[in-house]
Symmetry: C2
Subunit: 302 residues, 2 copies
């Protein structure tokens, strides 16, 4: 089990925690129904460099639109995306990029966006790593999700990314069904089209599922405090603290990208999703750091 | 199976539907992951007469508050509740009653409300029927939920009632965990109390989960169109139509309370949650009516 994890403090903390909460009659036993584990997605379950996958997806959509309407090419912020101007995209910030995405998909139905997402994910590859994006998931994390479920946990994604794109692949890739995915979302509107009820996407933000909003959305969607949470940025700190400060046994894990050879080394300087405060406070908040370089035998599957 | 259901068109429709979607290799086979079934709660899974259980719960809270602050007794809308003035409560409407509840629980944590709900449900009884409210669930529906799950369905509640109260009993009574309960909700706020992260309830509505909002919330929380839905009022019609108008096999069921001997006969005249349009349109919308009088052998458990 956890074959892609190196022996060490992080792996031991996980194995020990799971043993304690699953031991029948043990002092720290947690009934299966309360074994809720929440995972951030970008940078925690799959690669988010040089920018989040959802931004590549947005880019492909903008290229299609620009073919029909070339005026898009000279209008900001679309121009920045089409020219892959990373500095300008990073300046928009992650919420800014999300808002462009929301505008671009407005008027589509939820089911149309799902179809578009699946189609794109079936063939889109990472520009540098040359792999399908869906193969940029971290092998040790896929193992960890499976290991937790084998031990009676229910696994959830709680991501700042758009909920629709994640739902389009999370079941096949992580074994996490759509109803266990929480993410950023737009408001939708009930509509009748040719006698069929549809949910139309509006260009209005419902929730930017980052920082404190992650905790509020866990309350709304799950209704139970997680006993295990895993993140990789300051956007996950509220969720890690919410998890860690509940009564009884709790495990909060923080991924540190410190492996420039097998992936990328980054933390404070990544404008789209920095890791600074969470890293500085790991001792105070009782957070366990996972070092990609030290703790993972394998990063991506073979 | 479905021992509390009488043989007849409604029971046959259910058995036939489940047989078709679960038959391996069948033309209408639906994979287990897509077998989503959504149920309204008040009037569909348990009794909502003479008013919804959540209003009785609110009343008990108001009595506690009035002991500390007697001025509440002469202030509307609290006065109407404390005097059990049904006509006045009905005039407020269900959303109005919910808003009173939101004000009264504001500032509590989600976990405090959960504790309060469980405490109340453990001993509160229906004034006329003399049973615990949690024993006012309909036996045929508890059987139906179990039958669907045995056949690979995932069962959800989609209720206009406050999400917190339902989550406090749905797992024990219906076998439906908190994360599969959707309901009306207030906004919450991340807060630190004595070093512990809490979700504080604000006095601001997040979602009144009724009518079209039920469909929008299914999109947000589940991310999949149900293949079976069960409701009992016009507040459920949007959900029934959303379910019924998807491609492939679909079943939309509508409970009709027509049994004054074993429960109550009501539909159009029930101001808190009327049934009129949905009943008038069953043929046009392909909805299967379940008559309490005709289709249920038993209403409540023995």
């Amino acid at each position: 089990m956890l074959g892609s994890w190196n022996d060490g403090a992080a792996k031991s903390a996980i194995l020990d925690f799971v043993a304690r909460v699953t031991k029948p009659g043990g002092r720290e036993y947690v009934p299966p129904a309360e074994r809720v584990a929440t995972f951030d997605n970008d940078g925690t379950l799959w690669c988010e460099q040089p920018m989040q996958v959802q931004i590549f997806f947005l880019l492909s959509r903008l290229h299609s639109l620009a073919e029909k309407d070339p005026s898009i090419k000279v209008r900001q912020p679309f121009k920045a995306f089409l020219e892959q101007d990373l500095a300008a995209i990073r300046l928009l910030g992650r919420q800014g990029a999300l808002e462009v995405a929301f505008a671009v998909y407005a008027g589509m139905t939820d089911e149309e966006l799902d179809g578009l997402s699946r189609e794109w994910l079936a063939s889109a590859t990472h520009p540098k790593l040359g792999r399908l994006f869906t193969r940029l998931t971290y092998q040790p994390q896929v193992e960890l999700l499976g290991y937790l479920r084998e031990n009676g946990f229910k696994t959830f994604i709680v991501s700042g990314g758009g909920i629709g794109l994640i739902r389009a692949f999370a079941e096949a890739v992580y074994g996490i069904p759509p109803e266990q995915v929480i993410g950023s979302s737009v408001r939708t509107a009930f509509a009748l089209q040719d006698g069929r009820v549809q949910l139309l996407r509006r260009a209005e933000l419902n929730s930017f599922d980052d920082r404190e909003a992650k905790v509020e959305n866990i309350g709304l969607h799950i209704g139970r405090r997680p006993i295990l949470a895993f993140g990789n940025s300051d956007g996950d700190l509220a969720m890690l603290r919410y998890t860690r400060t509940g009564p009884g046994p709790r495990l909060a894990l923080l991924m540190h990208h410190d492996d420039p050879v097998r992936e990328v080394a980054y933390d404070r300087d990544f404008a789209l999703s920095p890791l600074a405060e969470a890293l500085d406070q790991v001792d105070d908040y009782g957070i366990t750091v996972v070092s990609m370089k030290r703790d993972w035998k394998t990063v991506f599957d073979a």
